[in-house]
Subunit: 413 residues, 2 copies
């Protein structure tokens, strides 16, 4: 047990509760973490390390829940952003970066002919479903039970304020269960506009699932045969598994794909990419926001994507992720825990089998890690970055070894 | 007729059309401007001036359609943003700026007890309606016919991809027609969760309308008597008319208000503010996005709001807006045009009465202004900034005088 103090964090949280609903809301809500074991406010970051407001340092495996892909304050990205800030950010029309970023993304994405930019993952996932409806003249969207595609009412995980009408046109199938989609298509013959799914299953708090052999291509065939738009939600995984989109890793090409997190190394930008056949429809479905054409995030994104490619960032994240996985699995055996380590190495997640879905051991484990200077969430997948080093992994495994021991002490075998 | 060349803009637009639907979409779609008379891409901005990619300079009256409120690259805002960038932007939890900005906004907003941050105007307007539903347990939202509250399907101005279910719970009344809301409330007794409206009417392409005596307070009373949440959409007008929210200018206090454009002088941030009575509901309606807690836009926003107050920015915008209005109205008389100059001086709009809503004279006028180095849109309200100077207004009026003359030449009296 280390001696991390969170006095300043706790004092800020007291103030936050007075002026913000719940103090902190959304995916960073402290209720999803380990009570008392995590800081609530951060001061700074550099590469793979972050410091909270009390001065505690952490090796960061959450990466701001995805956006930080090259490491905090990456010099190339920062330089590109500052260079654009010297000229300005928002104008009455875009800057040339709008074209340059779009051309670059289209050039590295085998399936796509165009791109539309926005700010949030929710923006682009929702727009893709509306676009699928407009293109097909149909109403229904098929999604996987339990999947997360954003915070809008058609898909938000919380029921508050959601009306039955918000979901009247949403139908559900099961990830990795092609028959469940086949039945859905048969039951809604000629009425399904689009299928939206992530490249692998990463529902919060659950073991992740890679696509089983034939599943994604089966979805592709079903869509082709029935005139359904295949939407790949690559918000969480995009540019962490493959520079051409995560579909390339798993051998499938969608009609639309959505990006957000890793696009700009933290600079706010998201995107929907699509095929020529959907270009006309895309022009007709109104899509806009006050900052959609802002230049600074586009400068950051272009620098981020080029740097990721030039340093082999995808391969680095996979390799470091494999070292982390191998180390954790060996430690679990040593400490006699049955764990499930799931998902691709760059976006992994671990559960204790004996937790049976309630996360008690995992919350203790993650809390011990935080106190030891390793930040990972107990009920959300983690994110490697291209900034993680062998030294980071080695130091991490010292901390996780002690964390496994602490869990074993509390939960005897 | 000046000799502005748009060769580089046009070449970029050619490239854009290949990789982005329509080249440029949304509110910056060139279709809303004057064909051939406006640049499509910008290079830089400084204060109240912007330069397009061909090097043409403009006095900017669109302010990126609102966000630029202190002028482009305002030194205090840029310094605050860069100082935060030295520490980082996105972490696994907010920075102290989350608390500081929330405390500051609550301290200057008489009606509000809390604030929630997001990225787009659409984010916060939609969330406010969902929050109203959750708080009241009712389904329907009343909005004004023709009003713009964002690009989501319940309110988008374009029909593409919108299903009947998206609007099944939206009911309509007329701005400045209290009876139309009274009837709506009577017809939907006990079923209206919230009323959403802007502080003044600013529907695109139409003459603007200030609230008539008794209208906003009538809405307030109707909401109070019927347990309806009053949502003030201050996305466009907020922090341009009053630092305490535009309701203060017009003598009304809402239950929820939404902000976006002028909050961060172009740094991407939006907000929903609310009363204590809605705090618990706000904690329960899931609201999140990858960049909602990012620190750099919060540093910019805090600097922007403090600077606006300290320089008397609201008063400056009003005064410069009055000079612009008085000058334009005098010129219209001289050139024997009947024009309607509507809205508050800081967010004005002008139409030619003889255009009868089709904007032919206005498109010619705005095109001539652009060629003369004054950027204002023909079918969208304009925005003053605190950076506009007396010299800007004087130079503008030289250009508009020539523009009126050109319209007179084409459209004889």
């Amino acid at each position: 047990m280390s001696t991390h103090a969170y006095d300043k964090s706790n004092a800020l949280m007291e103030r936050a509760r007075k002026v913000v609903p719940g103090g902190i809301y959304g995916h960073q809500n402290p209720a999803f973490l380990t009570k008392g074991a995590f800081p609530s406010f951060f001061a700074r970051g550099e590469g793979s390390h972050i410091w909270d407001v009390d001065g505690n340092e952490y090796i960061d495996y959450m990466a701001s829940y995805g956006p930080i892909v090259l490491g905090h304050r990456h010099p190339r990205v920062e330089e590109a952003a500052r260079r654009q800030m010297d000229q300005g950010n928002c104008f009455n029309a875009p800057t040339p970066l709008w074209v340059e970023l779009a051309e670059h993304m289209v050039s590295i994405t085998p399936f796509a002919d165009w791109v539309a930019f926005a700010k949030n993952g929710s923006d682009v996932c929702t727009w893709a479903t509306v676009l699928a409806r407009h293109a097909t003249g149909r109403r229904k969207i098929a999604m996987c039970t339990g999947a997360y595609h954003g915070a809008h009412t058609w898909c938000t995980p919380a029921p508050g304020g959601v009306t039955p009408e918000d979901r009247a046109n949403i139908v559900y199938f099961r990830y990795n269960d092609l028959n469940s989609l086949r039945e859905l298509v048969a039951d809604n013959q000629g009425d399904i506009a689009g299928v939206i799914l992530s490249p692998f299953r990463h529902d919060a708090g659950h073991d992740q699932e890679l696509p089983v052999e034939g599943f994604l291509n089966g979805v592709r065939e079903l869509c082709d045969r029935n005139g359904i738009v295949f939407i790949l939600d690559d918000v969480r995984a995009g540019f962490r598994l493959h520079m051409g989109g995560s579909g390339e890793l798993f051998g499938v090409r969608p009609d639309l794909s959505t990006y957000c997190k890793a696009m700009g190394n933290g600079y706010p930008i998201s995107a929907c990419m699509g095929k020529d056949s959907l270009r006309q429809a895309a022009q007709e479905v109104f899509f806009t926001g006050s900052y959609f054409t802002s230049a600074v995030p586009m400068a950051a994104s272009l620098a981020c994507l080029k740097e990721l490619a030039s340093i082999g960032g995808i391969e680095r994240m996979r390799m470091m992720g494999e070292k982390l996985r191998d180390g954790l699995l060996a430690q679990a055996r040593t400490h006699r825990f049955a764990v499930t380590y799931s998902g691709p190495p760059a976006i992994p997640y671990m559960t204790f089998k004996d937790d049976n879905g309630h996360h008690d051991r995992m919350k203790l484990f993650a809390g011990e890690c935080a106190r030891g200077g390793v930040y990972l969430a107990p009920r959300h997948n983690w994110f490697l970055t291209a900034a993680h080093t062998e030294e980071d992994i080695a130091r991490t495994l010292q901390v996780t070894d002690a964390a496994f021991a602490a869990v074993r002490k509390q939960f005897s075998a």
